[in-house]
Subunit: 284 residues, 2 copies
């Protein structure tokens, strides 16, 4: 299978590594608008060749769009336009974006919609760029397929095989419910980490103290605050409606707990913590 990857960052690059060594990909060509990223990806050996977007679409059986969500919408539409224009009915384009509804709406009425598979591999780190690419990044994680009934069964099957090669478990849902769920379990966590980092940085002008007192607890809660603005700004904007609701629910919880503390209501604090402990059953 000839693979083309548009966007040679953490996700695109990590896919390249495992698709190649697990022999799913016979060849991998890559595109990146950022010349530093592009040449790093070539030097590291993530891709065999750097090409233009046009060439990438021409040479590849599967085109993986792994750019930030705002750009992805345009790229996927452009690729579908090209499929239509050239009469390429066997090629497949897939994206890996963290928000699914806006791109679903943008592609909904495209003549070649069935050649597009909307996916979201739920894996990553707080780092970015081709030098952050890792082998085994996707192993045992979950990949969401959104609105799979809009894609041709053959395209879904091919992309499923691709994710099998990445050792991912596949879960199907609508793009709308994907965006609600990710607002809760991923996007909100990022909002919280950014806000925590800024709260602490604002107050602790003497950074030595942060460092001294930053035990494991703080480091893990604030870890996501290292995530990058290019990726996350468009995600927050695209998932605005869900995220605002979810953030309001969170603020209310924090406020409730804060009031329990202020009132020294031991029973209420204890029951809030006991409730939260139920997360043990779900997260290891």
């Amino acid at each position: 299978m000839n693979i083309g990857i548009i966007g040679l960052g953490l996700i695109g690059g990590s896919m390249a590594i495992d698709l190649r060594r697990r022999k799913f990909a016979d060849s991998i060509v890559g595109v990146d608008a950022d010349m530093i990223n592009a040449s790093a990806a070539l030097r590291i050996g993530l891709v065999d060749e750097l090409v233009s977007e046009d060439e990438c679409v021409e040479k590849s059986d599967i085109i993986i769009v792994a750019v930030p969500v705002s750009a992805a919408m345009k790229v996927v539409c452009r690729v579908l336009d090209r499929f239509q224009k050239e009469g390429w009915t066997d090629k497949i384009v897939m994206d890996v974006c963290s928000t699914k509804e806006p791109i679903a709406k943008a592609t909904m009425y495209h003549a070649c919609r069935s050649q597009y598979v909307a996916t979201h591999p739920m894996a990553g780190t707080e780092y970015s760029g081709p030098w952050s690419a890792l082998p085994n990044l996707f192993d045992s994680k979950v990949c969401i397929f959104a609105d799979q009934e809009e894609s041709s069964p053959k395209a879904v099957e091919t992309v499923s095989r691709l994710y099998d090669a990445l050792n991912m478990r596949i879960s199907f849902m609508s793009s709308a419910s994907h965006d609600v769920h990710t607002a809760y379990v991923s996007h909100l966590s990022h909002v919280i980490s950014f806000a925590l980092a800024n709260t602490v940085l604002d107050k602790e002008k003497d950074e030595k103290h942060i460092f001294d007192l930053a035990s494991g607890g703080f480091s893990s809660t604030v870890r996501l605050a290292k995530s990058n603005a290019d990726m996350w700004t468009p995600i927050f904007i695209q998932n605005k409606e869900n995220l605002v609701k979810v953030t309001d629910a969170f603020i209310q919880k924090v406020q409730e707990f804060r009031d329990n503390i202020e009132n020294m209501d031991e029973a209420a604090i204890r029951s809030f913590i006991d409730e939260a402990n139920r997360i043990k059953r779900i997260i290891k």
Copy 2:
């Protein structure tokens, strides 16, 4: 050195492991009000013998008080009373509590205050009980000594050697500034995790979806929500004043960011994230 540990949980138990194998402790006796904890600690081999609190004070050169903060205040005072009554001027009592001001006030005027060393080893996990005790838990972490000028130089020196054996770096500060700093870098993180867990658990009645979508991001932000109510309820209450202020500052940050998202103010979102990214210089 003969060591007595009152409170055979994660911290007391982990200290026992390393103090013994690094040959700081010649013998270790233990006390725990919970018979299940106590007998587990003996069975695991954390302590040589289970004794009463009275016997523990009698047999030990250093008494480590590792019970939750609410109880610790009473235990430390009781031990100091005993020192005074028996005329034991060479014994030392130390605590390992996460809040330092209330206990500082409670002991301030005690005739034997100089035999008490107030410490907070900044290490732990989200688990509790003697079966959670780990070797190397304290390695390379920081231990705070609070108000060390109130303790005798000899007592400070002896307890410093104990923490040397645990491979900790020692940092000195007043109990008041300890409690402000820990409110920011430890207690707030816990408030956030508990609130996040409850937000998500409330909304996601179908827990399978949480599990499916819980990528690394959520797991790390919510990790502390597994922490236990017996330990954290009294910490929150004892550090109420600082914690309420800090939580208010955090709520304001979340609100600001939420408003930027609602207004789709890309520049403001981006600059909020860029600011938060400065945490990279501090946290690895």
